[in-house]
Symmetry: C3
Subunit: 203 residues, 3 copies
Amino acid sequence: MFYTIDILGTIAFAISGVLVAFNKKMDLFGILIIAFVTAVGGGTLRDLLIGDTPVSWMTDITYTYVILGAAIFAIIFRSKINYLRTSLFLFDTIGIGLYTLVGIEKGLNAELHPIICIALGTMTASFGGVIRDILCNEIPVIFRKEIYATACILGGITYFLLREFPIKDNYVFVVAGIVVIVVRLLAVKFKIALPNIYSKDHV
Amino acid sequence: MFYTIDILGTIAFAISGVLVAFNKKMDLFGILIIAFVTAVGGGTLRDLLIGDTPVSWMTDITYTYVILGAAIFAIIFRSKINYLRTSLFLFDTIGIGLYTLVGIEKGLNAELHPIICIALGTMTASFGGVIRDILCNEIPVIFRKEIYATACILGGITYFLLREFPIKDNYVFVVAGIVVIVVRLLAVKFKIALPNIYSKDHV
Amino acid sequence: MFYTIDILGTIAFAISGVLVAFNKKMDLFGILIIAFVTAVGGGTLRDLLIGDTPVSWMTDITYTYVILGAAIFAIIFRSKINYLRTSLFLFDTIGIGLYTLVGIEKGLNAELHPIICIALGTMTASFGGVIRDILCNEIPVIFRKEIYATACILGGITYFLLREFPIKDNYVFVVAGIVVIVVRLLAVKFKIALPNIYSKDHV
């Protein structure tokens, strides 16, 4: 089941990459690279930093097929992709819940400090988009208008708090993932953002 | 002989980096870094992703000398470099043929899937230019007007097809390399590009 | 004592990151990431290239606390940070002296060529700023107006020259570090830059 979520998240991330690449008038090759980077960039950075190489998408060819398939689908049906907006948003949100926890567990396996594990989880979920934006010559959107990271961090804190109690690992995993998803849904629904640190008259 | 080609490719890549850095009015240090990154960036990314560290240019000092020499040459004779345009284009083209195959063989050594090997080959040949463009604050030219990647991919496919037949490894290597070179030369000569996916009236 | 210098350098780098992120109107998350990247980016790249993973800031949580503390301090007192300009410049300068030597010694441990070791030292001291500028969508300032690298390179050369003599390792380390610091201070005081390679009438 986790694998299914992973694949759905990968599809949503890849399609979001295609849409950004379209806006930049990239050619077919550029679009595929951006789809790839958006989908696997966060996990790749995580694997590089902890030294878990070859990085994960290289050793499981399924990701490559899924990303290529999603990208080609998005290119062909790009005028209709708006109809899928809600589904893609849900896949994407569930995906970041899972990616956060995958990153945390990889950090734990490498015996890293809980704060570093949470950083790795947040990175897994959000740095694909950061690398995508750098390749598209934009300041990463997540640095200006935070859309992911707080949800990932709160989910990560939940994970480590729950581990202090005698709860089965699977439940801890699921509850923390749900925290990520719910925080993100609420933030989008109620337009909650990080406190503005710039005084109004300067903006 | 492969080593000679490698060095000629490195020279061509380094000089192309110098020329881009000139246009950005970089200082001496910036120019050297861009020359370096253009020449070894693709191989460095490949080595990082498969975990082959220290990365290759760090363990063979020849690359450093060649890149420094080529960069200083290009800085001193920059007003005359146009006379070398054809030679540089040939070095560059032969270089990507070789780099593609070096990437593929490194992927095979790491026991990766043929598609991942071809991706590593293409990355070796083309991502030096991608990193160069990012450092110069441009959208990578290869994502907008594809100039390399199709040739690398076709050469890679040739490589894996030929391996199915009882042909000596050396011949497979040479023929696949020639495919990369010929496809690239034809593409440049006949101005062949990837199919345009944007409708005319929107461009 | 080296650890204290390291921490002071980390503080200065983190605060410089916060100030750049402010100018880009980043939100709280973006500011923290830029502070982090500026402080540890150079060492992270070095560790990745030589394959020393998990990278160093992941295995010593102190860096995370120091960077978070420095960033929050800089955010709260940002209107007053000008009063600290001289202290921060000194921390920063002492920091690059130390970082250069840490990079060199890591290169020696990996049995790399002296030139590669000096490159690693320079990278440790200066590539945090490069990654910061890329994330902020700027051409790295160090490529246009060199502010660090020459000092790092001269300090590195001093280090390897002194090692030829029967001098205690600690002294070599300290003298080379002082060379970095003095060259940088003199360069800033007397506005020394790399020779301009662009003819006046073209600029």
